[in-house]
Amino acid sequence: MARIILDHLAHSYSADPRGPSDYALKEIDHVWEQGGAYALLGPSGCGKTTLLNIISGLVIPTRGRILFDDRDVTTLPTEARNIAQVFQFPVVYDTMTVAGNLAFPLENRRVPRDVIAVRVKEIAGLLGLGRVLEHKARNLTADAKQKISLGRGLVRADVGAILFDEPLTVIDPHLKWQLRSTLKELHRRLNVTMIYVTHDQTEALTFADKVVVMHDGAVVQMGTPEELFERPAHTFVGHFIGSPGMNILPAQVEGATARVDGHAIQLLRLYPALPKGQRIEIGVRPEFVHLLPKGLGVPVQVRRLDDIGRTRIARVELAGQPMAASVADAVAIDGDEGSLAFDLEQLHVYADGHLVEGEPLAGAAP
């Protein structure tokens, strides 16, 4: 049982880090609550695997502390922590049977034989491995091997957190969905913290209750999938999550009016004190921008209409800036001219990439 606390944690792979650019993981303060399902989402090389390895004890951080509940485990070796990890490529012990694999961590910890037998049976049942217990582990498919890796963590009664390092990379697409729902199901049944590292937003958003988005060695936002979608705290989050990503447009914002290349857009909040000299942008997701026929909103050039099955996405240009907008089925566009209508409550203002909270508009309806 563990609540994992990261206390001013930072890590650099160079022996003598000087500037912030030497840090693979910039300073981070974070609490992983007991029993949560978390996803660590970010592009390759953003430091998420480093963070995972620090939690599991494979890497000792350069600075800061890591606590499991109130116990400082910063320098504790992996085997002394109550965590388990599932790796990108399935790790099974080739010469052993599935049962032997599952029993291995317990045998190493000198658990009595009868207890081992009971646990192995129970966990094999949970994972759907019951029928292959006596098979050699090396003859199984990749998804079964990943289940074995997971099982080796689950059999240990002391495990409070399980870390997943892109566990579905080598799994066939049609099995990914299955394995992910198995994970969710296990998380629901067992009171165990799960931290799931991935660069795939679908995996992250479907698996986790809370998603932590990392970019360039730092955490840029943590929140529920809805929060990440509706209120990205950073333009990177807006861009990285969603397909296509958020539209980001350079704008001048004064009071409650945003101007994009001379076109005024009325905002629902006041932005009186935007810092001077910073890059001001407005961001809005394609889902909240609607393409309409010419003359009904902000005029744009229509470049292309993509039918992506459920909806249509228009690629448009607003003042030379490419944007994506959704197109309702009923709307027909003639030629390459159209106009945009914005869902104003979904329009956000960013200063140097960071979300700016506006003030409520005086006299506006509550």
């Binding site: 965590i83 052993m96 029928r131």
Partner: protein, 322 residues
């Protein structure tokens, strides 16, 4: 229908011609000799399978000599494998994985492999001498009577140490290559599973080295079973016949006594033994690999997890207890 141009066979004709002259004709000559008795002045008499009968009959003079050197050779190969394979594994395990020392170790390991066989024999012949050789002198000064030209034990010890010195590197290099191919995740998983150093070796390193180890065992067996140059230079097969291995015996018979018939019969049998051994190793290796490609899919889809699962209460309970 597709027509086949048979004239392409002419292109491989030169190869056939070369193989004919380099391998097939000499082999047939040996077969020819093996069924005849030779006398001086190039006289040959038909002897049928007489030499083979004599060779494989331990009570005859030729047979006794053949089986003596055969057992000697098998014992030698067994000792070599028993020493070099475990030693090679131990050295490979203790070699560094990264930093500049890797290159240094690899070069040092490769050095003995680069020395020609007869030079190795000469080096150890001088090295082991009691008067001018460092090894022989030191060992004698320590009070141990050591003379490889007089004592069979000393001769065997010297040849074995020499072979270990010469060839353990090969096993080391092969094992090292096998070890390097193990992904880090295996070691990390083993740490998380709380595996001891011995358990890591037994469950990860040894299984992953198995294929290269088979190759190493095969190569070392073949080489030690056919060993000739080093003991020939070092001891010449002596003292007495103590280190006369099959190949040395064969040369003695063919070039020393010029008994071409006996020598031909013996070389054919020797050849067949090696072929048989090769076949055994090949079969073992292919069988060890054959169950690798098969994949068993588990036909228990994930949805049975939810349905056919006993209540998870016990899991939950001891988790809370922990």
């Amino acid at each position: 229908m597709k027509s086949v141009n048979q004239r392409a066979w002419f292109l491989v004709l030169p190869v056939f011609a070369i193989v004919l002259f380099s391998a097939l004709l000499p082999l047939m000559t040996v077969v020819n000799y093996s069924v005849q008795d030779s006398f001086g002045n190039n006289q040959f008499f038909w002897n049928g399978i007489g030499w083979f009968q004599e060779l494989l009959d331990p009570s005859s003079q030729l047979g006794e000599r053949f089986f003596d050197s055969l057992w000697r050779n098998l014992l030698f190969s067994a000792i070599i494998l028993l020493i070099e394979v475990p030693l090679g594994i131990i050295v490979a395990l203790s070699m560094p994985r990264q930093s500049w020392t890797v290159a240094f170790c690899l070069v040092v390991m490769a050095l003995p492999l680069l020395i020609p066989w007869n030079v190795v024999g000469t080096i150890w012949q001088v090295f082991g001498r009691g008067d001018i050789g460092l090894l022989g002198y030191v060992v004698n000064r320590l009070g141990i009577d050591y003379n490889y030209t007089a004592s069979p034990l000393a001769a065997w010890t010297t040849i074995i140490v020499m072979d270990v010195w010469h060839w353990t590197s090969l096993v080391v290099l092969l094992c090292y290559a096998g070890l390097k191919s193990i992904p880090d995740a295996y070691y990390q998983a083993a740490r998380i599973d709380g595996a001891s150093r011995w358990a890591v070796f037994r469950t990860i390193q040894l299984p992953k080295m198995r294929r290269v180890l088979l190759i190493a065992v095969l190569l070392r067996f073949m080489d030690s079973f056919m060993i000739y140059t080093e003991p020939f230079v070092l001891t010449g097969g002596g003292p007495g016949n103590a280190t006369t291995f099959l190949s040395i015996d064969l040369v003695k018979l063919a070039l020393g006594q010029f008994d071409l018939g006996k020598a031909a019969a013996m070389s054919l049998v020797y050849n067949l033994i090696i072929l048989a051994m090769c076949w055994v190793f090949y079969t073992v290796m292919t069988n060890a690999d054959s169950d690798r490609g098969r994949r068993t899919a588990i036909d228990e889809p994930a949805d049975t997890v939810a349905a056919g699962m006993p209540p998870a209460s016990t899991v939950e309970l001891d988790r809370k207890a922990a």
